[in-house]
Amino acid sequence: MPDRIADIWGGRTPHAAGTPWPVRVDRYVDEGVAEADIDWVQSACVLCSNGCGMDIGVQDGRIVGVRGRASDRVNRGRLGPKGLFGWQANNSPDRLTEPLVRRQGQLQPASWDEAMDLVVEKSRQVLNSAGPLGMGFYNSGQLFLEDYYTLALVVRGGIGTPHLDGNTRLCTATADFALKETFGSDGAPGSLTDFDHCDTIFAIGHNMAETHTVLWARVLDRLHGPDRPRLVVVDPRPTRVARAADVHLPIRNGTNMALLNGIQHELIANGWVDHAFVDAHTVCFERLERIVMRYPPERVAGICGVPADEIRAAARVIGTAERLVSTCLQGVYQSHQATAAACQVNNINLLRAMIGRPGCTVFQMNGQPTAQNTRETGANGDLVGMRNWQNPDHVADLARIWRLDPLQIPSWAPPTHVMQMFRYAEEGALKFLWIVATNPAVSLPDLGRIRSILAQERLFVVVSDAFLTETAQLADVVLPAAMWGEKVGTFTNHDRTVHLSEKAVDPPGQARPDMDIFLDYARRLELRNIDGDPLVPWGTAEECFEAFKVMTRGRPCDYSGLSYAKLRGGSGIQWPCTDGQPEGTERLYTDFTFNTDPDLCEDYGHDLVTGAGHERKDYAELNPAGRAILNAAHYIEPNEPPDDEYPFLLTTGRTAYHWHTRTKTGRVRQLDAAAPEAWAEVSPADAERLGIGEGDLVRVESRRGRLEARARVTGIRDGVVFAPFHYGYWDASDGHTRAANELTMTVWDPVSKQPLFKVAAVRVTKLADAGGTPSSAPTTTASEPLIEGVPATAGGEGVRERDAQEEQ
């Protein structure tokens, strides 16, 4: 195996359009472990939403390595650096192994009984004094389907509060909403195999070379193949994806909406619209046309800060594509006018009739490995099984399956989003907050505010996690949770592929699977259904999965044809999987009938500018009846434009080597060494103006806080500063100047309620000279330095391994 820290994407296996992606098996096993001693246990990677199939290697009850599953449709054996090395976090010596309870201001060890009794006693107190609206639950994008579904039943059905959201709100809420707005329901229309078929890729705000490294390996194999697809990329940073592009538009962040309107202007003006398709299978074209015709390339060029001819060139590539895959991610979802812009990406494919056929689709990508499941189970801002909270029949159906009075299920408004929950906590209306496997003290915007909310005496905070995170340190009760590999369950990736992940080893100490913790909570709270029986009728993960199948039958995410047995061996399977489609479904909407029937749809839609919710009567009037909806909106000015005081635009993001707040990847020596500390990227022109050189210590300040880090001078757009959001404080001793979210703003998209991390005004000042030490930011990624002589990011000791083929 090559050094997979230095070579993130591994060796090329080029192939032509329409031919299968060749297999390449990647593996990494602890030094000195003999192949013959390893038991391999089926699983998939939980370090991004690609969900690569992998086996976990076990020796003497301990995880010793992983290998990609050659048979899996998602990765065909490949793994990226996070997948190859990330499992070592399970074996960290500082895992939480016993419950902790705050006594005299200190978190101290306690028994499970003691901790859970306290949680239950506090819950009862709040329920008695404030009612269900005093209770909030904030979970993750990294649990398993079974954990989420149990939580959804306990909270929505049992407690009866709408205050349940997932941190998927920060990563894929906009994907979810954009799909609902356009197609009537959540669910990726296409398949990852569409990248194998396409002749054109349009990637906006999706640095897949770092966020989904194995997907980028897939695309690279096409780019190196005999019929290279054309590539249009929108990103203010010189990402690896941008560098491979035929047309790269490094637009000013916050202006996606203007650009996408401009591209649609060109599609219409040049006759690149399939009018027969649009007439037959979409609604609202006239309004879209009226709005986008106000965005000729010259006007858009002024707003976005890229030449008009480049916009025309991009539109020409998209407009003349024969098989177009469009994809977007956080550069759209966490930016200004998030849902509105994401809908325009859908529009582009619809205008060109590029959907429902091999090589033709739009990806509203996910970020987290199991984000899709929070959406399907209703553990975030949705109702279970992609039901519509405004549709009384859907709510009644849910109540029937759960054996509850429909009135018990909160459906008077959409489920509460996390930023609103924190607002309720801030004003004292929310008194109990249970945070599961997520780290808001580093990942939410405006951290000074978040810390002060969590630290309030009047808010009782429970945290379940595998580590003592920055958030756990602020909790009243901390519950030790089992991780991936320590429990059985299923999860679903961004092309609807469901994987089974088996239990490979026991959790450390007294740590327990999250589902078991919720079951224990429900039992102690004595939650019951309408018949007086225990509310949650299952005791094991597999029983929960079987119950979820019943819940999804006939809904868009139909799991009814799946089972643990069926998911064992072979490849993951794409839902809907039913008796009629027992092998799953590669593409949705192949007959161009979308989920926009008012009785079927998951949502009645919103006004994209204000987020005003449409009601059933509005939807009926629109009468999409199976046709896709072309949503349109004008570009509006961002909320915090740069000014004299704060002249730069901040954007935050991730690097290939880390996951979220480094709770896991920061504890993996290879990944930690590849990107050990925070940095701030600036352009050469800005660096010169400010007198900053590579490695100089700089301060980046916004109206809310400050970040201190070494500067990395890169080819980033002038006027833009980038900072990775991974770095918090669990492994730092000094103040609060390491997390990028000290700088970001409390603001969210009006439709998806996703916080906007990509637009904040900042200023930059030099604090100290580098003294010859460059920033330690990776050189292998978008953070590649411009000057020579910076040591290249490489694996070092323990990363190189024998080649898998060599060995066999």
Binding site: G131, G134, A413, R423, T610, I636
Partner: protein, 163 residues
């Protein structure tokens, strides 16, 4: 023909709404969505006035007056904002919020119906340019009211049914 009157009514209603959007946004600055959207929509009111300017001239209406369209927050608003930070930490802010949102809803509805009236008149005098402008502005005016309505529906359970 009294289209000047209809245009002046729109100006007045939009100006009043802009004032309220800003002051509700500032007063409830701890409600981040109200703060940001309040200011965004107040700017939209100013944009509406700009769009009407040629028609005001055409039909002899007075130019828009009132302070609602000015961009910068006044001293009073800055003071309100400081107050908002304190109020923002107490549960009492909920009832205040509901009251302000109700008033905002009425102002939004008032502006919406003013556009309906102008649009009807434009149709009757067969002015295609004014019809187009009024149709588009009315669409946005309708969305504003609907937004406040949505916000009220989402907020009131927490304020009224809890505690």
């Amino acid at each position: 023909m009294k289209l000047d009157k209809a245009i002046e009514d729109v100006h007045e209603a939009e100006s009043e709404l802009a004032t309220q959007l800003r002051s509700v946004g500032e007063r409830h600055a701890s409600e981040a969505d109200l703060y940001h959207l309040g200011h965004t929509l107040a700017r939209q009111c100013a944009e509406h006035a700009r769009r009407l300017a040629p028609f005001a001239e055409r039909y002899g209406a007075a130019p828009p007056g009132g302070s609602g369209m000015t961009q910068s927050p006044s001293v009073l608003e800055a003071l309100r904002r400081t107050g908002a930070k304190l109020i923002g930490k107490s549960e009492a802010s909920g009832l205040l919020l509901l009251r302000d949102l109700r008033h905002l809803y009425l102002a939004a509805q008032n502006a919406e119906i003013a556009w309906v009236i102008l649009l009807q008149a434009a149709r009757a005098v067969r002015d295609p340019e004014l019809i187009e402008a009024a149709t588009e502005c009315h669409e946005e005016a309708e969305a504003r009211g609907k937004w406040v309505r949505t916000r009220i529906k989402e907020s009131c359970p927490q304020v009224l049914a809890s505690g």
